[in-house]
């Protein structure tokens, strides 16, 4: 299968007054055509930084210091900013955000915010742009789009606004759409609708989706493949079926055990003790070692490599084929 988006060894640093910190390190993944890849992790895991780095929307003090981002054969990090702005963003890769309340401009109409993507990147007449906007609004399930395009964001409900965001993201038919927690701010019934919608649209618009979330239920619902991030690194990568059925990394196992299920036993849900270390206090060795139930000496000093186990990639010493595996 062809990869639309390939990220190799991506490393992002942030300069602050307290020094320079590495937010994500050695992040690599591939996104196949019309596939959905979920990046899952807690706050501070680096999942949002990863997506913003791909869009080149990092804050001013953030910088990609190593790695390669290849979108449909083009090395994005080697393109000048004008090319990124003019040819790539909005056109070949788009992004939708968590808060549809604040991510839409309050003083521009819905139609204006959708059509400006077309005017910026395509040679298109006003009438055609308007027709496209109405079409795409209908596609995302907004009733009477002819009326809606004249409305302002505050006149729409949260779910409707997220649909408008999706319409904006898809109107130029990009190859990849990044969705950064697009349903987190919505209530669950609307969330389910939006997830269904994204799945349908992915096929209709022949788009691949990079879906950033902290919610494993959402991952199970929408993604084909998943990468699990912890403290700036990918700790596990594989298909959703494999990772959910046979989680390898202790962190992934912990996350899945902490997930409530309908048929599950009553009583307290298990949790992972401790919290994600902040960017400045990441421990030496394996970054997860001080929360890990399987910790041993090597974890405290040596950073684990990525090992291929079955169809999954795991960053954990437990799966190092060079040592005898007593714990399994």
């Amino acid at each position: 299968m062809k990869d639309v988006l390939r990220v190799e060894n991506l490393t992002v640093e942030f300069k602050t007054e307290e020094g320079t910190f590495t937010a994500i390190e050695g992040v690599s993944f591939r996104l196949g055509e019309q596939r959905t890849l979920a990046i899952v992790g807690e706050s501070g895991s680096g999942k949002s930084v990863t997506s913003l780095a791909i869009m080149q929307l990092l804050a001013e003090n953030g910088r990609v210091t190593a790695g390669d981002i290849v979108l449909d054969g083009e090395h994005l990090l080697q393109l000048p900013p004008e090319q990124i702005q003019h040819r790539i963003l909005g056109q070949q890769i788009s992004m939708i955000f968590q808060e549809p309340m604040t991510a839409l401009n309050p003083i521009l109409t819905v139609g204006d915010q959708i059509t400006e993507v077309l005017f910026e990147h395509q040679d298109i007449s006003k009438r055609d742009a308007r027709a496209r906007a109405i079409d795409v609004l209908r596609e995302v399930g907004i009733p009477s789009p002819e009326k809606r395009i004249k409305q302002y964001p505050h006149e729409l409900s949260g779910g409707m606004r997220q649909r408008v965001m999706i319409a904006m993201g898809l109107v130029a038919q990009p190859k990849v759409m990044i969705a950064d927690e697009p349903t987190t701010a919505l209530d669950v019934t609307i969330e389910a609708q939006i997830l269904d919608l994204l799945d349908t649209l992915k096929r209709e618009f022949k788009t691949s989706i990079l879906f950033v979330t902290h919610d494993l239920n959402v991952v199970a619902d929408i993604a084909d493949d998943v990468i699990v991030m912890y403290a700036g690194e990918i700790v596990e990568r594989g298909s959703v079926l494999d990772v959910f059925e046979k989680p390898k990394h202790p962190y992934t196992r912990g996350l899945l055990e902490a997930m409530p299920t309908l048929s599950g036993t009553t009583g307290d849900l298990p949790t992972i003790p401790g919290v994600v270390p902040s960017i400045a206090t990441r421990p030496a060795g394996c970054r997860f070692h001080n929360r890990c139930a399987f910790v041993h000496d090597r974890c405290r000093s040596e950073s684990p490599a990525v090992h291929r186990v079955d169809e999954q990639d795991v960053r954990c010493h437990l799966f190092d084929p060079a040592i005898t595996r007593e714990s399994e």
Binding site: L89, A103, L104, P106, H121, H154, M168
Partner: protein, 319 residues
Amino acid sequence: MARYILKRLIQSIPVVFGITVLSFAIMKFAPGDPLANFIDPTISMEDIEASRAALGLNDPWYVQYAGWLSEVARGNLGYTYAGNHSIRALIAQRFPNTIILTLSAFVLSFAVGVPIGVMGAIRKNTRTDYGLTVFSLVGVSIPSFFFGLLVIYLFSILLGVFPSGGMVNMRARYTGFARTLDIAHHLILPAIVLSLSNIATVSRFTRSNMVDVLKEDYIRTARAKGLRRKAIIYKHAFRNALIPVITIFGLSIPFLFSGAYITESIFNWPGMGSLGIQAIQDREYGIVMALNLITASLVLLGNLTADVLYAVADPRIRH
């Protein structure tokens, strides 16, 4: 919208009424009266007292106020104590001149202040930004009477490019377009002096709003859409940043009118400000009250305009 404007206009009537009561009372409680200027050793205290009684100056202030109000309600602004001139005629002569000056300063404040603020925001923490910050700080700090003398010294005396005062060249007696040009030539220095601190306020305010707006999520959305920088700054950020600036729009009007008192005196500008200062010194109550009435109405009108502009600029408060 028309109903809203009408409602606001009706609401302003008691406000204007309150302002006139207050300013009348304050003025009356201040020591001195119009006759203090006419004191002549050959006139006896009894005669002065008799004129005072004849003019009604011995009545309680609220009786005098009622008298003033009933005349004003009939459209009569009264006559001066000295010379018995029509106050309406005096003001009619001066009013347009003050409007020319304050309006120019108003336009200048925003035409210069807003771009400076935007430039500072998009070049945040660069030398340009720091330079503009220093300019603004100096602008708000420097008193206009000092700045006025400074520009007169520089541009009139040293360089000789602008006249030091007045509104027209008395000797030239220009007419038509030449007169307009002459007035404009005289207008430049006082308009700059009057607007300086307002330019500073407007630019600081615009800058901080613009800086805040540029951090908004919808700016990130606009960048994610691949819009060019100009579209992001002007279409998405600038219009949102301008909404709070409208507040300054309304506040500028009283600021400029009171500033005009000083500026007009420095530059001998024949407007209401210099008339007002003279009137206060002479205790010409009628003139002071007429000026208060006009200024208060303009300020209220300015605030109403600002509120209407809010609705125009921001669809969220349109209905």
